[in-house]
Symmetry: C2
Subunit: 241 residues, 2 copies
């Protein structure tokens, strides 16, 4: 199959995937880099490849549509040259979360993506995003995860319910806070823990902190705040499996 017109109905549908609303409605998202498409393919998430006419790729046995350079450009989020894109289906999450990083209103796609990448590297199994976090299927998040997004369980839900559910199953949930918190080094380095990271400007909300088993403070040389992904990286390493 070949599509050459930007006015084609399918192209118009795919263009909508730059918006969260339509990604949610259709359960689809776009993956842009060839190595990221490879990662998505390992999990059978690729629905259709869009391949620039004349471009040779190494994916075998996937449905593909030949498109023009212009269509690829229109569907790409970056100015860098793509020759191939993948329309992917969102995975169905079904494992029981044990080692989680919970995100309370984290807004920056680069931060969310980097936290997902880091969580995967240190053996966390689940990322739980509050409903007002930025969308994990935006192109910027996908790129920042370096593909880890496809290999980790992702839940978007009310954090209060998720915290209580973890606690009911005997898993400690820690909040991060600059006030009234204990130094990280005073916590046992056990692996069956979950922790909450907060909004870039305001940190973890008081309501969520009050539900946590304990509050962690990362010891610093001077009173400063850390970038949320950096705080997450230090905690994920500390509680690594």
């Amino acid at each position: 199959m070949e599509i050459t017109s930007l006015q084609n109905n399918k192209v118009k549908e795919w263009m909508k995937l730059s918006k969260k609303k339509y990604r949610d409605e259709m359960g689809l998202f776009i993956v842009e880099d060839e190595h990221l498409i490879e990662e998505a393919n390992k999990k059978q998430l690729v629905q259709t490849l869009l391949v620039q006419k004349g471009y040779h790729h190494s994916f075998v046995g996937l449905p593909e549509i030949i498109v023009t350079d212009e269509i690829i450009k229109k569907l790409s989020s970056t100015v860098s040259t793509n020759h191939i894109l993948a329309i992917c289906k969102k995975p169905i999450q079904q494992i029981e979360p044990k080692r989680c990083i919970l995100l309370d209103q984290v807004q920056d796609p680069g931060n969310v993506g980097t936290i997902i990448r880091t969580a995967y590297a240190f053996g966390f199994d689940t990322i739980i995003l509050s409903k007002d976090c930025c969308d994990e299927y935006s192109s910027k998040v996908i790129r920042s995860t370096q593909g880890a997004l496809f290999h980790i369980n992702i839940i978007r839900d009310d954090l209060k319910e998720q915290i209580q559910s973890l606690q009911k199953r005997g898993i400690k949930v820690y909040g991060t806070s600059l006030q009234g918190a204990k130094e990280l080094q005073s916590f046992p380095q056990e692996s069956l823990v979950s922790f909450v990271l907060g909004n870039e400007g305001n940190g973890v909300s008081d309501e969520i902190l009050s539900l946590c088993d304990d509050k962690i403070y990362i010891e610093m040389n001077r009173f400063e705040s850390l970038n949320v992904a950096i705080a997450g990286g230090i905690l994920a390493y500390y509680f690594r499996k």
Copy 2:
């Protein structure tokens, strides 16, 4: 003094400050957020404030020029609304570096800025950038540092010379590497150390690694790579003062 025209010569000069070349030539850079201007002012770096007509600010005793909304917009790097900008002079670096984070070809402004912010929080005194790192005075870097840029020593130089100079003064310099490196936990947690972080795609170059006293590997649950700022955060915390 008041300037109302985009064609004004001063405005044209300031517009050039969006480019590294001119920032280097003039020794000036632009700071955009009010809380960042405050941080720059603590170090007497503000040369001139550009204030939107009718806007009231809290800076006292600084030279200022009243400008139009249009001029502020033209000089701003973001779409968010600024009412005040500061033309700042680059600081003169004069302390002897002891605890340094060295950056080998780190390209992403967000990464460089976050590393500077983290280094400051954990008591490092100097950031040494290889000549091909991205410019530390770009608006994106300044924003990511959250003002830490003005409180830490910054050197842009040949890394080889800088590593040798640190070593001559008895300071150990560690490289980060995924291959042939020792686990982080096997290093003593001493504070008089420096370490090198590498390019987003390629890591620290072999030439630089060969000069290092030792190579560090951050223990992970699976063979992955970490975002360079995350790796930096974990090391900076481990070797914190």
